[in-house]
């Protein structure tokens, strides 16, 4: 690790969908670090590569780009890193251009454009297995001669598929930098091309292809047979709806076993602590605070992973852009673009990556609209809350082939989507005034999702989630335990001790605001730490109820406690509240960062709070009427 500063740096650069990230995963394995480029929220993925001969490289996976003539922030970052003009980023020692061997006509133009910069580079022909299968014969020696740079074959999805690249790196890259680090010779000046340049380059691409590649008439039957159904206006939309529905059913049904196991372990651990520790403040902190709080959130890891598994697999297979194609016009009616679909789908996992993914939308107004409605997509952090309340109040019964709990969950997701569309429609009238923007979306060939890439993606998500549990959630749980424990109940108190604590006082103050929508003081308390991370609300409820219960068996089993303590209208009202869930500080911080102003995060917080209150109020009042009155 001490040699990192001396390790040569190489960047992977290529078109979107060229398998660049798969190659990055193959080269660096799990030795990756994901961060942000300074000032913007484009993912900066760096990893360590050690060649068989022991040479060390720092590998940077640049965002996919069609051209150095950038039209999105992603492409700008790629251009600036390569040119060495990005602040805080050293110009790379070596550029590895990654090209899809089945699609050289599109990919080689970028290679030629980059070559003009006069930097050390080589070309990795990726997916050569697929190219061979399609009968594409590439004369690597000829291509090498025509391009004037080393060319290697790679198969990013196969173990050992980068061996040619590794050998080439070992043999052609000097072990010692020819210049001291930080004093690299400048790249050739880059000027935005005009049409004449582009057409000259395109002619050059054709000439090179004619000299080095023999390609049979492309056999596109397989993809087109699938696309005839998948892109069909009726069947395509039905398949999309079915896919999403299956995804949400799976989140609930596949996750139940691992969730039960986690719950059981947490309870056992709490009980173990209770029996082996003397009754003390420390025991209360550990059992009621940390174990109940963190355990209550940890239990949702399986659901979050299943959700991400679906999103990653759909992305890897080439289906997601097709979904964007299908929805483009429909989303256009409310002023969005099909491109908004991917950020919005990511927002189902968490609004923050969704808001960050919106940067691939090159049009600012489209991007802003997408950012503003991203929090209305039900993020996985709300899943714990939904799961808890649904589990406590909706009976586990079959409705036809479906599960009633799954149906309610689906309805909540739909409610989020519908309100997002309504908000977008309002934005369309007020902000974007119906201007037209380009779509220009590539629909890549279908491929089978690849196990290692899915696994690495899932590991990354699990790490992020667990770090959140470890940091924010743990800290807040402890803070909340403190607020809920001190000061203790006065002599001769009748109610549970928490009622007399700081948290109790705060909750009772907030209850004035929230009583009209049916929230009791326990819920009001739980909403406060929920501002830092929504799922904390569950941990907070766990802590609040654990401390307000009088018995000893308080470690888990929050659901039944709630079922006994809340009325049905209160439960529904809280569900409605969380459809809008305005209180996520991390989301607002991300919006601030992405829009570079306080205006939009404040606007977002305001409109979400207003909608949440309104929706909960209506839900509560209607539910009260339907259930024949009564008070929460």
């Amino acid at each position: 690790m001490s040699s990192t500063s001396e390790a040569m740096s190489l960047v992977l650069l290529g078109n979107p969908n060229c398998g660049k990230t798969a190659l990055f995963n193959l080269l660096t394995g799990s030795r990756q670090k994901v961060a942000n480029y300074p000032g913007v929220t484009v993912d900066r993925k760096e990893g360590q590569l050690t060649t068989p001969a022991g040479r060390q490289f720092r590998v940077l996976d640049l965002p996919g780009a069609y051209s150095l003539n950038a039209v999105s922030i992603d492409e700008e970052i790629t251009r600036d890193v390569v040119l060495g003009t990005l602040a805080g980023e050293r110009r790379p020692d070596m550029i590895v251009c990654v090209s899809d061997a089945t699609n050289l006509k599109l990919n080689l133009r970028l290679v030629l454009e980059v070559k003009r910069l006069g930097l050390p580079m080589m070309l990795a022909l990726n997916m050569t297995d697929l190219a061979r299968k399609r009968g594409i014969v590439i004369d690597v020696a000829a291509l090498q001669r025509e391009l004037g740079m080393p060319v290697v074959n790679t198969i990013a999805v196969r173990r050992g598929g980068a061996s040619e690249l590794l050998t080439q790196l070992e043999s052609s890259v000097p072990a010692q930098l020819p210049h001291p680090a930080g004093e690299l010779p400048p790249a050739a000046a880059w000027l935005a091309p005009d049409v004449a340049d582009v057409s000259a380059t395109q002619r050059e691409v054709r000439r090179i292809l004619a000299a080095s590649v023999r390609e049979p008439a492309i056999d596109t039957r397989f993809d087109e047979h699938i696309d005839r159904v998948v892109l069909h206006p009726v069947w395509g939309l039905l398949i999309l709806a079915a896919t999403l529905f299956l995804m949400f059913q799976a989140v609930f049904s596949w996750a139940s076993l691992p969730m039960e196991m986690i719950t059981a372990s947490v309870e056992a651990f709490g009980a173990l602590l209770s029996t082996h520790m003397p009754e003390s403040l420390l025991r209360s902190l550990l059992v009621d605070g940390i174990v109940a709080g963190v355990g209550g959130v940890l239990v949702f890891l399986p659901q979050i992973l299943i959700l991400f598994l679906f999103i990653l697999a759909l992305e890897d297979s080439g289906y997601l852009p097709r979904a964007a194609f299908l929805l483009d016009r429909l989303m256009g009616t409310v002023g969005l673009s099909g491109r908004s679909f991917i950020p919005l789908l990511s927002s189902f996992a968490c609004a923050i990556p969704g808001i960050m993914a919106a940067r691939t939308i090159s049009n600012w107004r489209d991007r802003l609209a997408t950012i503003m409605i991203a929090p209305l997509m039900t993020c996985s952090a709300r899943l714990p809350v939904y799961a808890l309340i649904i589990g406590a109040f909706i009976p586990q019964q079959a409705v036809g082939v479906f599960n009633l709990q799954g149906l309610v969950l689906f309805a909540l997701y739909v409610a989020g989507v519908l309100s997002a569309m309504a908000v977008a429609a309002v934005l369309k009238i007020t902000v974007s005034k119906g201007l037209q923007h380009p779509l220009l979306l590539e629909l890549p060939s279908y491929r089978l999702p690849h196990g290692r890439n899915l696994l690495l993606g899932l590991l990354e998500r699990a790490k992020i989630f667990l770090l959140r549990v470890g940091n924010i959630i743990l800290a807040l749980t402890v803070l909340l335990w403190f607020l809920s424990t001190f000061p203790g109940a006065p002599e001769g108190a009748t109610g549970p001790a928490i009622q007399y604590s700081y948290a109790g006082m705060l909750g009772q103050a907030l209850e004035v605001v929230f009583a009209p929508i049916g929230f009791n003081w326990q819920i009001s308390i739980a909403l406060v730490p929920g501002m830092a991370a929504r799922e904390v609300a569950v941990g907070a409820l766990g802590t609040v109820y654990a401390l307000s219960a009088t018995g000893d068996d308080v470690a888990g089993q929050l659901g039944p406690l709630l079922a006994a303590g809340w009325s049905l209208p209160t439960a529904f009202s809280l569900l409605a509240w969380f459809v809008f869930a305005p209180q996520c500080l991390a989301t607002l911080a991300a919006v601030k960062r992405e829009t570079n102003s306080w205006r939009y995060p404040l606007l977002m917080a305001g409109y979400l709070f207003a909608l949440a209150y309104l929706a909960s109020f209506i839900t509560y009042r209607v539910a009260l009427l339907l259930t024949g009155g009564g008070h929460a």
């Binding site: 039209v71 009726v234 016009r329 380009p438 629909l443």
Partner: protein
């Protein structure tokens, strides 16, 4: 490509029909955003003589369209597709 062919906009090409792109200087005019769009279309392969085929149309209004160009498929909205002029092939069989 024998004889003068009638040029139509890519958006008007029926699904399944083949055509060749024919628009040498389609990027030379217009506002900056128009030029940028034209340049990007050029960069992703909508260049003179390139074969294209509409493989799918969206709903409603037949928009956007999915166009095969080379071995890639790109989805374009109506106003984007209208920037590209094509010459339909005489025997541009409708495979569907």
């Amino acid at each position: 490509m024998n004889g003068p062919l009638e040029l139509i906009s890519l958006f008007d090409l029926p699904r399944g029909h083949e055509a060749t792109v024919s628009c040498g200087d389609f990027a030379a005019f217009g506002e900056r955003s128009d030029r940028e769009l034209a340049l990007r279309l050029y960069e992703i392969g909508f260049v003179d003589g390139e074969r294209v085929r509409v493989v799918a149309r969206g709903f409603p209004g037949g928009e956007p369209i999915a166009v095969r160009v080379g071995s890639t498929i790109f989805a374009l909205r109506r106003f984007e597709a209208e920037r590209v002029l094509v010459a339909p092939l005489r025997n541009g069989r409708a495979k569907a």
